[in-house]
């Protein structure tokens, strides 16, 4: 693959996943700073080298990125605190690549930290109470929840294509198997399809074990030019393609089953010049089991309606045709509210061959797709295709 033009002239030089899953004694910024140290150490760079700062969190408000710069006591030349939900960090890496390519910064640090679990946040079922935001006037009266919106997607998919709860359950079972091989994962005890189906319904047809866990955690990614990354401590991972998209209800005429991943995925694959079958590993945001199925279909790994068959029979397991989330995903490893950064971190570690028991056999390409917001309502999607350098 050529390495002198965008985006292949940009690489990920360092990553770090916070080891904690419960940190009641830490703040978000503290977790972010610890992750910054971890990722910079991984790359061999120092905080003083960072001139691009990217970050978002569940609680950072307006100017939150400026607060973060102050906390770290740095004065970067390029800042981006855009928050499009859990996909933000995939999007940040895309933006960082563009900024580095444009000469706006040389070393970009992408940060996330969260204390969602120790703050006892009810992320999926907190539902809507009153709000002064006019945007919510047509959802607030009806008790829309995050899980409820995904559940409506699932029911429509089941009706249209005959997808079953057993097929969705198999996604959760596969993620748990992966987590059992990940020493950092929060939930490592193996489960069966029956366990998922007999767990209580949260919002039909989704059961408790169809839903992601809630944890604390954080992560960091260091992005720089491939040229610079080649001289650094860790094996550089090249950016091959990227894309972003939004999906929403339009004027009340949107096909619910078409999600942002379709547009962002097509863009990323076109940029990378790769086929779906060229991808060795997919990191898919798994807020719920149905999120994985919807995303795989919309990214084009299988046809619309064939997701149920695609995710069964071990096909998305470590030995399947498309291994998905070898770390155990948000369903079993960690989900501190906005999971996008972990998709990139695991993809990079797998491409470097650093994943121990859950390591895939020499993967050369990986796709990470983050979903932010709510499928079935309005959401963002960000896709990143990565590869080992040639």
């Amino acid at each position: 693959m050529t390495s002198n033009q965008f985006p292949t002239n940009i690489a990920i030089a360092g990553v770090y996943e916070h080891e904690s899953r419960f940190s009641p004694d830490k703040t978000e910024f503290q977790i972010m700073a610890e992750c910054a140290k971890g990722a910079l150490d991984d790359s061999g760079l120092a905080l003083a080298d960072v001139d691009g700062l990217f970050g978002a969190s569940m609680t950072m408000g307006m100017m939150g990125i400026v607060d973060l710069a102050e906390y770290l006591n740095i004065r970067p030349s390029h800042i981006d605190g855009s928050n499009i939900g859990g996909s933000s960090f995939v999007s940040h890496v895309n933006h960082a690549a563009a900024a580095i390519n444009a000469g706006l910064c040389d070393v970009a640090l992408v940060l996330y930290g969260s204390t969602a679990a120790s703050n006892a946040m009810a992320i999926g079922t907190g539902g809507s109470s009153g709000s002064r935001n006019p945007e919510t006037a047509f959802t607030v009266p009806y008790g829309m929840t995050t899980v409820g919106s995904y559940a409506m997607y699932a029911n429509l998919h089941m009706k249209k294509y005959g997808t079953t709860s057993e097929q969705l359950a198999e996604i959760a079972v596969t993620m748990r198997h992966h987590a059992s091989l990940n020493p950092l994962a929060k939930m490592r005890k193996l489960i069966t399809v029956d366990d998922v189906l007999s767990s209580r319904l949260i919002s039909s047809p989704l059961h408790l074990l169809d839903c992601c866990i809630i944890s604390d955690g954080g992560g960091a990614v260091v992005v720089t030019s491939l040229e610079r990354a080649r001289d650094l401590r860790s094996k550089p991972i090249q950016i091959l393609g990227c894309g972003e998209a939004v999906q929403h209800q339009g004027v009340g005429d949107t096909d619910l089953l078409t999600i942002a991943a379709k547009q962002s995925g097509n863009q990323a694959f076109a940029m990378a010049g790769l086929k779906r079958s060229d991808i060795d590993l997919a990191m898919i945001y798994d807020s719920f089991t149905i999120t994985v199925l919807a995303t795989l279909e919309n990214l084009g790994f299988c046809k619309a309606g064939e997701g149920g068959n695609f995710v069964t029979g071990g096909n998305i397991g470590l030995k399947g045709t498309l291994p998905v989330n070898p770390d155990g995903g948000g369903l079993s490893s960690n989900h501190p509210g906005m999971r996008g950064i972990f998709l990139i971190i695991e993809a990079v570690k797998q491409l470097r061959g650093e994943c121990g028991e859950r390591q895939l056999d020499s993967p050369e390409t990986a796709l990470a797709h983050g979903t932010g917001g709510t499928i079935g309502d309005k959401h963002s999607g960000a896709t990143l295709i990565l590869g080992v350098t040639q």
């Binding site: 539902g127 006019p134 009266p141 009806y142 409506m152 029911n155 009706k159 209580r200 005429d253």
Partner: protein, 140 residues
Amino acid sequence: MSNIEHPLPYASFESLGYWEGTGRDELVLQRCNKCQIVQHRPRGICVNCLDASNLEHFVASGKGTVYTYTVTEQNQAKGFAKACPYVLAYVDLEEGSRILTNIVDCEPYDVSVGAEVMVKFVTQERPDTESFAVPVFTLS
């Protein structure tokens, strides 16, 4: 009867026509007569011509079909926690727009994708002693 205590929506000037309509037990939709677009939610402009001059509200039939739905078994939010299980649904209206709503007055698991439904209005008290009406749907 539904046990839901519907939280008060924030009616901006853009959605005032809609909520005034529900107060008259009318489901009101917005159309741009220049572009022939029906848009929900209502906006201060038409999304096609970005102009307001040809926008009008009209009374919809209130008939529709369930596009998709879920039976909510857990929602901690005020007004809903005690109402579980309740049905959250998207309804495709006869006039071509889709709205989020609740399906009420039935066994929750009797609802299905494609079921025909009809609007009804639930009056909800407000702290200032006025009331507002929320459109919900029942199986036809």
